[in-house]
Amino acid sequence: MQFGGFGGFVTSALIAGAILWSFATTDVELSRLVSAGPRIADFLGRMFPPDPTVMAEIRKGSAETLRIAILGSLGAVILSIPLAILASETMVSPAVFRPIRTLLAFIRAIPLILVAMLMVGAVGLGPLPGIIAVAFHATGMLAKFYAEAIDGVSRAPIAALESAGAGPLVRLRYAIWPQMAPVVARDTIFRFELNLRESLILGIVGAGGIGFYIQTYVRSFQYDKAASVTMAVVAMVIAIEAINVALRRRFT
């Protein structure tokens, strides 16, 4: 990108304006940050040493988060298969794939935590609203990825099967699916990783999982316990990433 001439000036002025506007209209008192030094130290001090007695809660919360991610991902995969076919440029007409793609873009635009809050309101507390929220939110991305995988395969074998008299679904199964399978596996694992990461905090809005305990311990000033749970979350995220890297290597 180049910033030169009048266009460059306008761009710079807009960016500077946005920053100044944010500072001027938000209550950012740097002095508060300085005076808070001892309080932050105290806060961190109370987190240490982490309380190891909450292992049972960590285990229970992690297991629930894992279940939410697994079932949510399963729901997203099931929803994504028909939606991907309907969102594919090569399987259906523009009159079908255009509105479906718009719908998927809308779904992607709604943050998971917002969906979870709405679902808690609709079906009550617990892992169920979390599962529904993950399934719904993840479908927006997964169906788009699957559709792109369908459209990205080599066309020649599809034409060959059509020439041999195979119908559209049979072509999908024997000419398109074998070509797109590694992409689908990679995308699904990637989305599962995101689902697991994002569902760690679902408990904060009452949609189940380990986030519930972080919420509870912070609210009741049990920072040492909150620290233990936070460390467990960090360990889980690192583990998920390591497993994902190993899995992805197998599918490329």
Binding site: S154, A156, P157, A159, A160, L161, E162, S163, A164, G165, A166, G167, L169, V170, R173, Y174, A175, P178, Q179, A181, P182
Partner: protein
């Protein structure tokens, strides 16, 4: 004698194309004939073969294949498509599937739709696929994945898939252009031999006159979308062949190969 292909005053231009791809083409091919389409790149060979396979619409004229007229505006009914087999220039195989799976793909149009979708070939389907593999000399490759095969082996898989279709007409677009001369001879012998053994009609395109001469009973020369000559192989003379390639490719195939 039965007629396999009858074309009457066929004209076709690719959508958006300014020059016609096929112009005033008329020809008749009898059942069981082995015919070569000879001509330089851009002569219209691929277009004519794809059109006969029912993959092109928007042409003018009259075309009938295996006794049924083709509709210029829509693809032929699915039930009739297995009767016309096609061997693609770039093989058009599913690279990540096994050789046997690719050959069974040729059976999909012959299976009941639900059986095809569920992927449970009958013993009869498997029998035909295995026979096609054996005929093509690749029975030992059945469980190998196509992406592990050489070009010559892939072309044999493509032919086996076409044979598994049990076609009454075999169309082949430059079936040996990717192969060295020895392999090319073997594969064309296989293709025309298998067609003959099954009583099927074979029409293949080539830009190599010597190969066309060896494996076809009749040679149709094409240039600029028109038929330049249509003669029994024994009557093909070198002047006519030279005329076909005049100014287009002084040494047929050589310049193309140098680029790729």
């Amino acid at each position: 004698m039965n007629i396999a292909i009858r074309i009457d005053d066929l004209n076709f231009a690719h959508p958006g194309g300014s020059v016609p791809a096929l112009e005033r083409v008329s020809l008749t091919i009898s059942t069981g004939e082995s015919v070569a389409l000879l001509g330089p790149s851009g002569a219209g060979k691929t277009t004519l073969l794809a059109l006969l396979d029912g993959r092109l619409q928007g042409w003018r004229g009259r075309v009938s294949v295996l006794g049924a007229p083709l509709d210029p505006d829509q693809p032929p009914p699915r039930a009739s498509r297995p009767d016309t087999g096609f061997v693609f220039q770039e093989f058009a195989l599913v690279e990540r599937s096994t050789v046997l799976r690719n050959v069974l793909n040729g059976r999909l149009g012959r299976m009941a739709p639900l059986r095809a979708l569920l992927g449970s070939p009958t013993p009869h389907d498997l029998d035909i696929a295995r026979t096609a593999l054996t005929d093509c000399g690749i029975a030992d490759l059945a469980e190998r994945r196509v992406d592990s095969l050489s070009g010559g082996q892939r072309q044999r898989v493509a032919i086996a898939r076409c044979l598994a279709q049990e076609p009454r007409l075999i169309l082949a677009d430059e079936p040996v252009s990717n192969l060295d001369p020895t392999r090319a001879g073997e594969v064309l012998a296989l293709l025309t031999g298998a067609a003959q053994a099954r009583g099927a009609t074979a029409l293949f395109s080539s830009h190599q006159p010597d190969l066309a001469r060896r494996f076809a009973q009749r040679i149709i020369g094409m240039r600029d979308g028109r038929i330049a000559f249509d003669v029994p192989t024994s009557e093909l003379n070198d002047d006519a062949t030279a005329e076909l390639y005049r100014e287009v490719e002084p040494l047929p195939g050589l310049s193309l190969r140098a680029v790729s």
